[in-house]
């Protein structure tokens, strides 16, 4: 491990590039200069804070602290899932569905990966557990959010079709089947595309990071493949669970379409 030390003044040089870009966009009246600078500032502050938290967590390394960190990450991911939906389910259903499906898929796959596949001692070793869980949650979150957003939006748009199918005596599963399949597909497409393009179009971030920090490329590749597979499993199962549960919630005991269970658009 012979990573070249990076000092703050070296980062300042990179920051100068962003500043130069901001000046250029300002001169070109693109109107994004301000949000560019705010985003750059957020990146710095947020990552610095996470750095402190991780340093503290690595030195504490007890199951309790790791679990607390994991819970906070899950809660933030759950919030993000709702924020990305145009018409979320009303009440506690949206956060419950999103968080529960991510909990079941992302947590289960992470714990499985840690205990059975990678096997650090102890199994919750934060150096492995937190980055793994972070990648799992980040991708599962995208899948669940895309899937749920697509489901509620297309059911809203196709309500006349769905009710017509109900009128002809179809079961609710049949009537909502097209919308449900679309939603699951759109939740899974990003990760499928990422797998298809990995190594050819893009060098995945984790592998790049490991190679930069001195890991042998062959080992970094193995880790990357492992991560890709576990992320795919987590995203896929999470999206399936969330979309199936949400589509059930859109119908009542009498198999009626209940769009009154969706909140009005929040934008």
């Amino acid at each position: 491990m012979n990573l070249i030390e990076l000092s703050w003044w070296q980062l300042a040089l990179a920051a100068a590039l962003v500043l130069a870009l901001a000046v250029a966009t300002h001169l070109a009246r693109l109107g994004v200069g301000r949000s560019l600078l705010v985003a750059a500032l957020r990146t710095t502050v947020q990552l610095a804070l996470v750095g402190f938290v991780l340093e503290a967590l690595f030195s504490a390394a007890t199951l309790g602290w790791v679990a607390l960190m994991a819970t906070v990450m899950l809660a933030l991911a759950g919030r993000e899932v709702i924020a990305r939906q145009k018409r979320p389910l009303k009440g506690l259903w949206a956060p419950a569905l999103g968080t529960l499906s991510m909990f079941v898929s992302a947590f289960a796959v992470t714990v499985l990966t840690l205990t059975v596949i990678v096997g650090p001692t102890p199994w919750y070793e934060p150096q492995y557990a937190i980055p793994l869980l972070g990648m799992m949650l980040g991708n599962t979150m995208t899948g669940v959010a895309l899937g749920l957003d697509r489901l509620t939006d297309s059911v809203w748009r196709q309500r006349a079709v769905i009710e017509s199918r109900l009128m002809l005596g179809e079961r609710w599963q049949q009537a909502v089947g097209d919308a449900r399949r679309d939603a699951i597909r759109s939740g899974m497409i990003p990760i499928i595309n990422a797998m298809a393009a990995a190594g050819v179009v893009s060098l995945p971030g984790m592998m790049t990071g490991q190679i930069l920090s001195g890991t042998a490329p062959a080992l970094a590749v193995k880790y990357q493949i492992l991560i890709m597979f576990t992320i795919t499993a987590g995203t896929g199962f999470g999206t399936l669970a969330a979309v199936i549960a949400a589509s059930r919630r859109l119908f009542d005991q009498r198999e009626r379409l209940r769009l009154d269970r969706l909140a009005p658009p929040n934008a």
Binding site: Q158, E163, L168, R254
Partner: protein, 213 residues
């Protein structure tokens, strides 16, 4: 099952039964009591917004409602929603199509009744995107009848049709209702049509149904 023991050849599965509403209330409509006998056509009219469509939707159990609906001995709430709607079938005012071709929307080929509605025998292969509104409305009726319902809830089945097509639809519906002895609720705005098809004509009056003069 005793009910299945005496199949009615015309309707396919069960003997004809009457449609019974007891204390049915939904939004501004009702509570209503109404009996529609087997083979009877009851026309409903009233100003738009009076709740005609809401009443049909409640009978089909598409909206939450109060009161009871029954078809013969069978109560609406005694069976799953999809089984109820497979018997008491509603034809919405505007038809919806979700597959690419007409034929895919039908339970079996060939499509029954095309000629009676002035439609080409090859209509099953037509693309839905190319249908006129009148063709859609007539094909939607055939699509519904092909599923052999036990009772009909028709929401302006001739709204997009010219005089000739209206005549075909009325004739087909009257013969099907009579042969299969289907209790039928028929929402219509056209007094002439009501005079032609109705056995009884009820009018919405402030959430209640009254016998039209």
């Amino acid at each position: 099952m005793a009910i299945e023991a005496a199949p009615d050849l015309e309707s396919g599965s069960r003997p004809a039964a009457s449609l019974v509403l007891r204390g049915l209330a939904v939004g501004p409509v009702g509570p209503l009591d109404l009996d529609v006998s087997a083979g009877e056509i009851v026309c409903l009219s009233g100003p738009s917004g009076a709740g005609k469509s809401r009443l049909l939707r409640a009978i089909a159990d598409l909206d939450p409602h109060q009161g009871e609906v029954g078809l013969g001995d069978a109560g609406q709430q005694q069976m799953p929603g999809h089984r109820w709607r497979a018997q008491v079938m509603m034809l919405p005012a505007e038809s919806q199509w979700w597959f690419d071709t007409v034929g895919e929307h039908f339970p079996a080929a060939p499509i029954d009744g095309l000629a009676a509605l002035g439609l080409d025998a090859a209509a099953g292969g037509w693309e839905v995107a190319r249908l006129s509104s009148g063709e859609k409305q007539r094909l939607a009726l055939l699509r519904l009848l092909a599923r052999r319902p036990q009772a009909l809830l028709l929401d302006e089945p001739c709204a997009n049709l010219d005089r000739k097509a209206t005549g075909w639809v009325e004739a087909l519906l009257r013969s099907r209702v009579r042969d299969a002895r289907l209790p039928t609720l028929w929402v219509s705005h056209d007094p002439d049509q009501i005079a032609r098809v109705a056995d009884r004509h009820l009018c919405f009056d402030g959430g209640r149904l009254v016998v039209a003069r």
